[in-house]
Every structure is written in C-alpha cells, then in structure tokens.
C-alpha cells in the first residue's frame, strides 16, 4: 500500500475531479478521494470548497474513512460553520456506539471542532462519556472538558463539568486520573484564584497512588501537578518526597525532571539537620548526571535546568565536575551550556583540571565556543584567587596566538581581573598595548580604553594611545565613546599639564557634536566638575572602586526561585518567567518556593548554611544596567555587559550625586547660558563658538537633567483626562459622583469626587465592578472614612488591580460600577482611557518588535489619523512615553519621521504602532498592529488624547 501517490496530483481541475470522485458510488474510490483531499490539506492547499462532499462521506462504518473525514472536519469546520452542523447527528450517534473506540473517537473529535452551534450539542454526549463504563472513553472525555473550556469556559462551569472532572481524580483507572489531573491543571491555570485543584492530603494521596500505576506521560502530568502543592508541614513534605524519589529511576527524562522539580521544591520545607535531608541531596545527583547521556536535545534541556539547580543548591553536583567536560562531538548548544556549568562548579579543589580543559577548548573551531572558553578562564581567575596567576598566564599565551577574536575576548576578561586584583598583574599591560590596533569590537576597545585610563600614570604614551582613538570618535559605538570620555578625564586628572588640549577636545566632542543624551550628560557633568572644583572631581572620578564580585551572571534570586518551580518546562529552558513568553493570562501567576519550616530560618541564612556545610549565601547580583541614572552614578564602571556590579553603598554616592546635580543645574541656569564665562574660571576656556550653538543642545540636555533631578528617573505621570460626571445627583438620590482614571507609579487609580447633594448624611460607602474586558477590580475597599454631610464633597482615590474576572465589554473600555451607601445601591457605567492599562515594561526589544510586526497578519492592521496636532516627532515621542507608549526606533524618510512604538497592556497584549509625522503638517498618521485587533480603536483614542493634552 503506497499512499505517496496522493501527494503528486497537482493538475488544474483537481478540485473538480475530487468532487466527482467523492460523490462516487464505489466505496474504494471515495476513500481514495478523501485521502487525496487530506494530502492536499497537509501541503497547505485550500480544499475547503469540498466541505459538503467530504461531510457526506461521514456516514460510514469504515472506521479508517471516518477518521479521515473527522480530520478534515477539524481543519475546516471553523470556515464553514453552517455546513459543519450537518455532522452533528453523526457525532451524537457515534457517542452511543457499542464500540468504546468509536465513542471515544466521536467525543475526542467533537471537542476539536470550534463551532459554537456544535459545542451546544456536545454537552449531553460529553456528560454521558464522562460516566462511561469504559475507562478509554472516560480518559478521552476528561481531556475533552479541557477542550470545551478553551472554547467556552462559561458553558463548562454552567454545565457542572468541573465537578465531574474533579470526581474523576478518584477514578479507579490510573490513566483517567492522569488525564483528569492534566485537564484540571490547565483549566486552573486560566483561573488563578479559583480553588479548582483543591489539593489536600486526601487528593495528594490518590495522586501518589495513581503515580505508581499510570503511563510515563500520566506520571509527568501528576508530578507537574504535585509541584503546585504546598505541604502543611515538614513531615508531610518528607512523606511525599519519599514516595516521589523512586521516579528518579524512570527511563523517561521528563518524569525524572518533574520528580526533581517536586523534590527541589519540597526540600525547602525540610529542616537542614534532618538525616533525610542529606539523603535526599545525595539521591539527586546521579539522576541529573544520567540525563547527560540522553539524546542531545534532552541533554540541552537538562543542562539548562542543571544550571538553575546548581545556582540554587551548589552542593548537589559539586563533585561531578568531570561529567560536564565537553566532548569533541557534542552539538554546539550542548557545549556552550556545559561550559557555563563548569564555571559555576569551579572551585579551588578542581580548578587545575578545569583550567586545563578550558585551555584545550580555546583552540577549537567554533568562534562562539572559543570566546566563551576564553571568558571562562577570566571568570575562573576572579572566582578562585589561587588560580589567578595561572589564568593570567594562560590568557597571555592565548593573546600570543594573535587570533583576532581570542585576543579581544582575552582583553575584556583581563580588565575584570585588574578590577578584582588591583596592582597585581599590571606588568602585562605592555603586551596588551601591542594588540591595540587589532581590536575592532566595541567591548574589547572599551575594555582597552578603560585599562589605559585606569593606569594612565604607568603608561608613558597613554595620551597618544587615547588620542588615536579620538580621531574616529563619532564612528565609535556609545560604549566606546563613554569609556573614552571617562578615560581621558582620568588621564587629565593624573597628568593635567600635558593633556589639557585632549580633554577639551573630548568634552566638546561629547557635548556639542553628539546626539546621544547619555554621552552629552556625562560630558556636561565632567565639564561642570572640572570647572567648579577639580579637587572634588579627582575624588569623584578617581574614587576607589568597589571590588567586583566573583559570580557575575547569577540569576536574580526571586527569579531563580520562580524558575525552580518551573523545572523541566520552557521557562527553565529560556531562563525567563512564563509571563515573558506566554500570551494572555495563562501561566502568568508567579510561583514561589515554600519557606523552610523546620528551623524557621530562611535557606539563604548563612548560619544554617555553614552549619550544614552549605556554602554561604550567593553574592549580590547585578541588577539590569542601562538606565541613565545608574550609568551616571557608576561613572567609572563600563556601561552595559561588563561584570562590575554597582557599588554596594550606592545610597551614599547617590546623595552626593544628587547634590552635585542640583548645584550644577543652578549655575548652569544662572550664568552659563550667557557666555560660559563661569565655566572657564577653573578650567581652560571653552571655545568661544560655544555660546551660539550652546542654547540648542542645552535645552535638550536640561530636560534630561530635570527629569533626573525631579523624578529620579521615573517617567512623567501618565495622561489623565479631566473628571466627568458619572452619576448625576438626580439618579443617585442626591449622591453625585464625578471621576477620572489615572496611572501613578504603575498603579491604576480611580479618582472620584463624591458630593452629597441630599439633605441627609451619607455613610457606609462601598464599591463593586461588573466583570469587564481587562479584569479591572478594586484592589481594596473604598475608603470614605468620615460620613458625608449635606453639601460636602470628598475626594477618594481607589487603587485598582487587573486580576479580576474578565468579560468582553462593548465598547471595550466600558466599566460598569455599583456604588452603595446607606441609602441605596446605584449603578453607572463609565469609560476608562485604555492608556491606564499601558504598563511600564512595555518597551519591546528592537528585534522582537521587527519579528512581531512581520508576524502579525496585515488584516490586523488599523490606520488612524490625528488632526491638528502641532508637535514635533520628538516632543510627541516623549509625551507618549509619559503614558507608557515607548518609542523603539525612529526613521526619517523624505522629511517624514516614522516612530516605531510599542505598548503592552496589563493583560499582556502587545500593540505595535507606527506613527508618521510630517514636519509642518498637523495631521499625524497612526498605524496600529495587534494580535487582538479589537483594542486598536481604544488605543488610537488614547493616542489622540495623550497627544492633544
């Protein structure tokens, strides 16, 4: 039997021919025709025109044909909902068939057809199948409830299917239990607050019993569900762990990883002095190592997870360094991950071996791998002090190979070694300087410049070296520019006599010729510092730097905790919380590890740690860099992607910096705008020509500075419309409510003025919302503390959350509110500007933006025009930013500015926008793209409101 012939027909009259064949009397011919249809469907041809003909073949007792027709139906029912109804009868009939395989097939397929009318008919058969005598039908029906819930959640609740599903957890058949657990877990995920998966010791016991008996897949469902449970005390925790550990010997890696997840989580609750705790730790290592002999793809998943486990509990694998040695034939993704773990496990005990390996890797072929290996050598030096000398000499050997990328990578890490061990290895600087010309990557150039600036007093020709970089200043990347600026200022403070010209040159380049606000601001601050108080400048710029910590790329502890709860899943592969890559409400709940119960001390506590032989708490982790303020304060730390963490005592420095900013501003405002004479006082006069072009950049620069001084880096408040009357006194029995919405510090506020226009005192206020499109709900009770006497007004501000129940409203931003007082309950509806829901982290990565923009179909694009808007594109951009509409990129074509912007709604929907602004033309064009095109209209309204106010 060869079916491949069905793939080959591509003649023109194909559809017509197929139609004839489908209506043929001969059974065999019919079947052949359906196969051809399915083949065409697979390769992506549109065969929906054949719908009625194919459905006609459904009434058959040939099961193979029936399955093919069902397959077709699942694909095309949505496009032909009316026709699909024709199939309902057959489904209903099949659900009564004496053959359990056919009953299951019918209910399974019916759940895959997303047509409302069919869904209605599904309920009765499903109810029967959930109670079917045959376990095969029940296990299929259990999954079908999840399918139905995905189509119409309300229906499932109304029909009471959830309770039936819960009953199935006690089913006698283990596979039915497993599928019921899977379905319930999925449904519970979209109802974060419901108590759907009511896990109590009894149900847990049932699950653990089923765990021993069901298929490998069922075991995974059950273990993943168990991981969500929080045991009541350490004894329960231990007894569950004992029953889960046998799973560590399962042949299926996913079962093993899910078991590891449960154990890692429940272990948190065990007292560290318990014998069992130590036993459990020992039991975890072998299965983790075994995962490394699986197929490469699984190895990759395992390694990403081990990376997390090693960060959380380094003791588990500390003796297993060797298994992470890279094999010559490992795929590159496995190699890179192994390398990461090797560095994490490196310690004084094994450092010699590790270094020998790393040196070997540095001569391999793959560029990324070699770079990482070189970097790893540097990290070993920082981590294990005893090995630093050998690391440095290894790095020098590697520099001698003159392989371009190896040299650059080595210089970047040597810079970190200098930071960690000041005044120890400076003898190598000469060798580094020899390679100055070959550096073409920004990071390496920046590192080299930092080294020259930092050790300017020991390098005779430091000024020449830095000057050579200055020639192409504008072609350098920001990272290099900033570093060069700082390095030259350092050089000037160390050797003021010879380098005055150089420093003036770089300051004017940075402040006058550059559009980059970071660079400009840093330039101004140095200029200001140098001109007012060179001694202070020396103290600030040449301040002693805090030592860098040994671990530089640890995952931030709360994120790590969350990821540990997601072991085995995609989140643990990406090292990102699910909310970062899952759309909508699914899986956005943040999971946490349970606290330790026995000793009452947190796991991180160094006391318990050392008592049980656990290494001390992991060192502080660098928060994400890149914001302007952070950058300014860490004057000397190189900008992004370096390993220098911000000084631990930032607060002190921060105050100083703020003062400094204040003073600087005053004098800038006071006299400098005039001619810059004050600036010249303590310092060589800036070029005379400065005066004229000065005012332009300064205003921009000042705005930046004001932002910093005033809002400490916070965005300006979002636009909030003026208050309108929501409930007139006529309708409110004397209570008048006017209000508006605002977003402050990331919290949506509903601001209301309650006015009592009646004759009696009003008390006992309360508020409630109807379900709405974005799940807005009061985050607390309405706070009206004093009774509202006649003719009195009171201002209330009610914080709102976005985790309430969701129902689509029309218009989308409609909110139905009920307010109660001692007199009556009043209902009104109001509309909130959707910009309230724009969240602060709505700035999309450029690359992601591009990919998403391409990925959203053009049908979802909506275009709008905003008239009479007299703003420049930059002003518009900053105004929009205040309302969390972020500009990602700007492009200018033929005098028309195109701003590419992104917005994220509180429920995770992304809206991408292209704003076109033609200079001198008051009409702006906004083009919106979103996967949920319904929101476009509302978003546009917000655009208009924000830009015009």
């Amino acid at each position: 039997m060869t079916d491949s012939k069905y793939f080959t027909t591509t003649k023109k009259g194909e559809i017509f021919e197929l139609k004839a064949e489908l209506n043929s009397d001969k059974k065999e011919k019919k079947k052949e025709a359906v196969k051809k249809v399915i083949a065409s469907m697979t390769v992506g041809k549109d065969v929906s025109a054949l719908f009625p003909d194919v459905v006609n073949c459904m009434q058959t007792d040939n099961l193979e044909l029936k399955k093919l027709v069902y397959l077709y139906l699942m694909n095309y029912a949505k496009s032909q909902p009316d026709m699909a109804i024709m199939a309902v009868n057959t489904f209903v009939k099949d659900c009564e068939d004496p053959n359990p395989l056919i009953r299951a097939l019918a209910v399974r397929t019916m759940g895959c057809i997303r047509v409302d009318k069919i869904t209605e008919y599904l309920c009765e058969p499903l109810r029967k199948c959930l109670k079917d005598e045959d376990p095969y039908v029940r296990k299929t029906a259990a999954v079908c409830v999840a399918k139905l819930h995905d189509i119409n959640a309300q229906l499932v609740e109304d029909q009471g299917f959830l309770d039936t599903l819960k009953d199935l957890i006690s089913d006698s058949n283990p596979m039915v239990v497993a599928n019921a657990v899977a379905a319930l877990s999925e449904i519970a995920e979209s109802h974060p607050n419901s108590n759907l998966l009511d896990l109590n010791p009894q149900t847990i016991n049932k699950l653990l019993t089923a765990l021993n008996e069901c298929t490998e897949w069922g075991q995974i469902f059950i273990l993943d569900c168990l991981a969500n449970y929080t045991p009541r005390d350490d004894r329960e925790s231990q007894s569950i762990c004992e029953r889960v550990t046998p799973r560590l010997s399962h042949a299926n890696s996913a079962v093993v990883l899910s078991a590891v997840k449960v154990l890692m989580k429940f272990m948190e609750m065990l007292p560290k002095d318990l014998d069992y705790y130590g036993t459990l730790l020992k039991k975890l290592a072998p299965p983790l190592v075994t995962l490394l002999s699986a197929e490469p793809e699984l190895q990759y998943v395992a390694l990403r997870n081990i990376n997390l486990i090693v960060q959380r509990r380094p003791e588990i694998l500390k003796h297993e360094m060797k298994v992470f040695f890279v094999k010559y034939n490992d795929p590159i993704y496995v190699k890179l991950e192994k390398l990461d773990i090797m560095i994490r496990l490196a310690s004084q005990a094994n450092i010699a071996q590790v270094l020998a390996e790393l040196k070997e890797y540095a001569t391999e072929v793959d560029v990324d791998f070699v770079r990482k290996a070189v970097r790893a050598i540097g990290r070993c030096a920082i981590k294990v002090e005893q090995s630093a000398e050998r690391c440095v000499s290894t790095l020098l050997d590697l520099i001698q190979t003159k392989v371009n990328y190896v040299v650059q990578e080595a210089i970047v890490v040597i810079k970190d070694i200098f930071r960690k061990y000041p005044n120890k290895y400076e003898s190598v600087i000469a060798t580094l300087c020899e390679n100055l010309d070959s550096l073409d990557e920004p990071e390496a150039r920046a590192a080299m410049i930092w080294i020259v600036g930092e050790y300017a007093e020991r390098i005779d020709n430091a000024d020449e070296l830095l000057e050579s970089f200055l020639e192409g200043f504008h072609d350098e990347s920001t990272q290099v520019q900033l570093q060069l600026l700082t390095a030259i200022v350092k050089l000037f403070l160390k050797k003021p006599t010879e380098t005055q010209e150089l420093v003036q040159q770089v300051l004017s380049l940075a402040t006058q010729d550059s559009d980059n606000p970071d660079l400009r601001d840093r330039g101004y601050i140095y200029w200001r510092l140098l001109s007012t108080d060179p001694v202070a400048a020396k103290e600030v710029v040449l301040a002693e730097k805090p030592l860098i910590s040994e671990e530089t790329d640890l995952i931030e502890p709360t994120l790590l905790e969350e990821l540990i709860c997601h072991i085995g899943t995609l989140a643990s592969v990406y090292h990102k919380p699910p909310s970062a890559f899952v759309e909508g409400s699914r899986g956005v709940q943040h999971k946490r590890l349970p606290g330790s119960a026995g000793s009452g001390e947190s796991v991180e506590s160094p006391d318990t740690g050392s008592a049980a032989g656990v290494p001390d708490a992991p060192p502080a982790v660098i928060p994400s860099q890149g914001d302007l303020l952070g950058d300014l304060l860490n004057l000397d730390l190189t900008p992004p992607a370096t390993s220098g963490p911000p000084p631990p005592a930032t607060s002190g420095l921060q105050l100083g910096a703020m003062d400094l900013l204040g003073g600087g501003l005053d004098s800038l405002l006071g006299g400098d705008l005039g001619g810059g004479s004050a600036m010249g006082a303590g310092f060589g006069a800036p070029p005379a020509a400065t005066a004229a072009p000065f005012s332009a950049p300064v205003s921009g620069g000042l705005d930046d500075l004001f932002d910093l001084g005033g809002g400490v880096g916070m965005p300006m408040g979002a636009y909030s419309p003026p208050k309108t009357v929501w409930l007139p006194a006529m309708k409110g029995k004397g209570l008048e409510i006017s209000g508006t919405f605002a977003r402050r510090g990331g919290v949506i506020q509903m601001e209301m003025t309650l006015t009592n226009k009646a004759m009696s005192v009003m008390t006992d206020f309360a508020i409630q919302f109807n379900r709405n499109s974005f799940g807005l709900a009061p985050a607390g009770p309405l706070q009206v503390l004093t009774p509202l006497s006649p003719n009195q007004s009171i201002e209330v501000s009610l914080p709102l959350s976005t985790v309430g129940p969701v129902m689509k409203m029309d218009p989308l931003n409609n909110l139905q509110v009920a307010v109660k007082n001692n007199i009556d309950v009043f209902y009104f509806s109001c509309q909130y500007p959707i910009s309230m829901l724009f969240v602060e982290d709505g700035k999309m990565e450029r690359q992601v933006f591009l990919a998403t923009w391409k990925d959203i179909p053009n049908d979802n694009e909506a275009q709008f025009q905003i008239k009479d808007c007299h703003l420049s594109s930059d002003a518009a951009s900053s105004k929009l930013q205040g309302s969390n509409i972020f500009t990602i990129a700007k492009r200018t074509v033929d005098g028309q500015d195109m701003l590419y912007q992104s917005v994220k709604l509180s429920n995770g929907i992304w809206v991408l926008a292209e704003l076109r602004v033609q200079t001198g033309n008051p009409i702006f064009t906004v083009c919106l793209k979103c996967r949920a095109p319904e929101v476009s209209q509302c978003v546009f309204q917000s655009y208009e409101a924000v830009l015009k106010n």
Binding site: G111, K139, V143, M175, T290, Y300, K402, Y574, A851
Partner: protein
C-alpha cells in the same frame, strides 16, 4: 501543551501537519521553515522562539520533526514525545524517510490522533497501539465486544505494555548486556573522564503474564547479603561486585520496589525492549590504551606515531577495531606504515583510518605516519582534534555480571526451569578519545 506537530522533508516541504490547539495557525508551519530549516546560520538550539511561539525540533536522517506551542509546556516531555513518535513510526514502517512518511501518511495521522490528544501525550506503547491501529486500517468492524474491551483496558490499564493471552510453545528469553565505554584521556595517559553507559536489552517470548526478577552483581545488594549471610566470602564478593552510579528502568519495572529493596521485578513486554540503563564510573576496565606521539617537523611536515595496547584476558578477542587519527586541513600527502591491519588516509574525512579486524588481549600494535603539509598563511594553529577509537569486545567493561533472571507464572504450567535463557555481553566503544 503541544499545540501542533509538523514533519518536514529536507527541503522544508511539509509532509505531515497536525494542529491541536487554536492558538497555532498555519503560519507557524512557514515560520519554522523560514527561521530554522532555511536559516542562513546553523540553528544553535533545539528550542527556538519565533514571535512568542516556541518550536522544538529533532532531526532523523533528513526529516525534521517539529512540535509547536505557545504555552509554558514541559520541554523535556515534548522531546521525549518526539523521540517516542520516531520509535512508534519506526516500529510501524521502518526507517523514517520521506518516502515512508508519504507512503504511510494516513497511518501517521491516525497515530497522531491516538497518541496525542489536545496536545497531551497518551499511551504510546507500540505493543498496545498495534492491537487496534494497523497498516491495513483499523480492525474496528470485525472485533467482538470482548476484544474491544480488552483493547481499551490494555490501552488505559496498569500493564499497558502487554496484552493477555500470549502463548508460546517454547518459552525463551534473550538477554543482552550492551555497554558503551567512554573515555577521554590526556596525551600523557591520564584519564580525564571515563564512564560506562550500559543497557540491558531483553527479548522475551513467554506465555501468559509472567512475573520476572532480575539480579546482577550490584554492590549494594551484594554487600547487604554479605552482611546477613556468611561473612567468609564477603571480601571476595565485594571485589566482584560493581558500584552502579545510577540506573533507569523501562516503565514495566516496579520502581518503588527497587527504591525500597533494590530488587528489579517486572512483567515484561512481549518481544524486544530495553529493560534498564545504567552508568558506572568506578573500576572500569579500559579495553584499549592509545599512546600518541605527534611531532611537528618544520612547518610542512608532521610525524605521527600511535601505539595501541589491548588490556584484557588473552583468551578474548576484540573485533572491528578502528583508530582514527586526525590530520590537518592542509595535508598534501601521507605515508603510513602499520604492523597489523590496514591503514588509509582519507582526505575527505581529514583523517588516517586504521582498521584491524581482530586483536587478542594483552597485545600491542603500532602505526607510524608521515604527514606532508602545504604551507599556508593561516595564523590559526591546527586545533589537533583527539584520536578516536572504535571496537567491540565480548565482555562488559563495567564488570557487570548477570546473577539470575527468574520467571514465575503461576497460572500456566511452566516453571523457571522450563524457560530457555540466553545471556550475552557486548562492550563497544562510545566516545573513546585520546588527546594528542
């Protein structure tokens, strides 16, 4: 859960496409083709995220299998499922090739419908599947009621891997201990890492629902018995036992029993299956030692001398020995002299391949080669890949020994003695490398 499953040929044409979830559109099929199969750079991860959709892929010869999802699925499970899917397809129609997939596409859709429901993997044991999904179409019509319920209870039951009522005239068991020994050795002969990953593969042809018990010279078990029983041979047995680092079992093995008593008991599937996998790192017998000597003579010549020594009982014979000595990319010519076997320079593989058919234990053999190089301007040094080796030996390098395999079937009238049992040990080279 899994939102869709696609199978592509090497050109990126889709052969099978099954969508399980509404959030996966047809464009996902193209997204994978464009971003992974046709990607300009080699893809650097088996998991790819394209516009918030995650793709998992595995490749079998030149066929791509991709699972797609928009949710935070269990990633390990998805890969395990993809491998399982390959196993099931292989069990049904042999090698996974474009031709076989096209020839069996209806069958594949049927299987996909059965083993993945709404993206949740269901029973995927071929033994069970073959009872009701066949290449000749489903048996549906002709089954009796008893047969039907037998099928469903097997598919959902506790012993999903074996059906009732199997009968053989001769009850037979074949047990293979297959080990692959892995080694990474420094040029100086220091063992950098070595481990054995072993598998116990069984072929069982037994009637009824037999209960089996498998025993081996596991150190933990032997020590326990040594403590309880006579202490005189404790030292001796301790020497002969091996320390198993970790082992995993086929789903038929009762894991809780292994955890508590360390005994391996199970009802075996019918036919061939892998009973267990294990890993050892201690006291490994390394069957061969490779001693390399590479000397660079000027910029255009290399002298290589490699000695191999066999390290096992002289009465045993190793087979299929192959030593692979890498040569630089700019090799222009090679002269080889070897004492035993045949050696050839293979320019396309950049290696000298030295093959020896058989070699007894405690022997040694040697090859020497002169490699001439073309002068190049390339500054980069030759990376010197390790010398690798392949072989097969008739013993288990880990030292594992099968102590017993008992069969109990209470309902039928055959006993453990009536079962014919065959045991075989094969040790193969895994990644067996010596740096030079």
């Amino acid at each position: 859960m899994i939102g869709g499953l696609f199978i592509y040929n090497h050109k990126g044409e889709v052969l099978i496409s099954r969508v399980y979830r509404d959030d996966i559109g047809r464009n996902a099929v193209d997204a994978f083709r464009v971003n992974v199969i046709h990607a300009r750079q080699q893809v650097r991860s088996p998991v790819t995220n394209i516009a918030r959709t995650s793709f998992f892929h595995v490749k079998r010869s030149n066929i791509w299998l991709a699972a797609v999802t928009k949710q935070n699925v269990n990633a390990a499970m998805v890969f395990e499922f993809l491998y399982k899917m390959c196993d099931v397809m292989t069990a049904y129609f042999g090698k996974i090739s474009e031709e076989n997939i096209k020839n069996n596409f209806v069958l594949i859709y049927e299987l996909l419908d059965e083993i993945l429901d709404f993206g949740y993997p269901q029973n995927s044991e071929t033994g069970a599947l073959k009872t009701f999904i066949t290449q000749q179409g489903i048996k549906g019509q002709c089954q009796t009621k008893e047969e039907q319920s037998q099928i469903t209870s097997q598919v959902t039951g506790q012993i999903g891997w074996r059906r009732e009522g199997i009968k053989y005239r001769r009850n037979e068991l074949f047990l293979d201990v297959l080990e692959s020994v892995n080694l990474l050795m420094s040029p100086q002969g220091q063992v950098l890492s070595a481990h054995v990953s072993g598998r116990v593969v069984m072929k069982s042809y037994l009637s009824g629902m037999p209960e089996c018990k498998f025993g081996m010279n596991d150190k933990i078990v032997i020590d326990k018995q040594g403590k309880g029983g006579a202490s005189d041979d404790a030292g001796k047995s301790g020497k002969q036992s091996i320390a198993i680092d970790d082992c995993t079992f086929h789903q038929c093995v009762r894991l809780s029993k292994f955890d508590s008593e360390r005994s391996i008991s199970f009802i075996p599937p019918d036919g061939e299956y892998e009973l267990m996998r294990y890993r050892t790192t201690k006291d490994i017998i390394l069957p061969f030692r490779v001693i390399p000597l590479v000397r660079e003579v000027g910029r255009t010549k290399l002298e290589v001398k490699v000695v191999i020594k066999s390290n096992f009982k002289p009465s045993l014979l190793a087979q299929k020995i192959e030593v692979r000595i890498p040569t630089p990319l700019n090799t222009s010519g090679v002269q080889v002299i070897c004492m035993k076997g045949k050696a050839k320079y293979k320019a396309s593989e950049n290696a000298i391949v030295w093959k020896i058919k058989r070699m007894a234990g405690m022997k040694e053999s040697q090859i020497s080669a002169e490699i001439e190089l073309l002068p190049t301007n390339d500054k980069k040094k030759w990376a010197r890949p390790p010398i690798s080796m392949n072989f097969e030996v008739p013993f288990a390098p880990s030292g594992l020994k099968v102590r017993y395999l008992k069969v109990f079937e209470s309902k039928l009238n055959y006993s453990d003695h009536d079962v014919i049992k065959w045991v075989r040990y094969i040790g193969r080279s895994g990644i067996y490398e010596t740096r030079c």
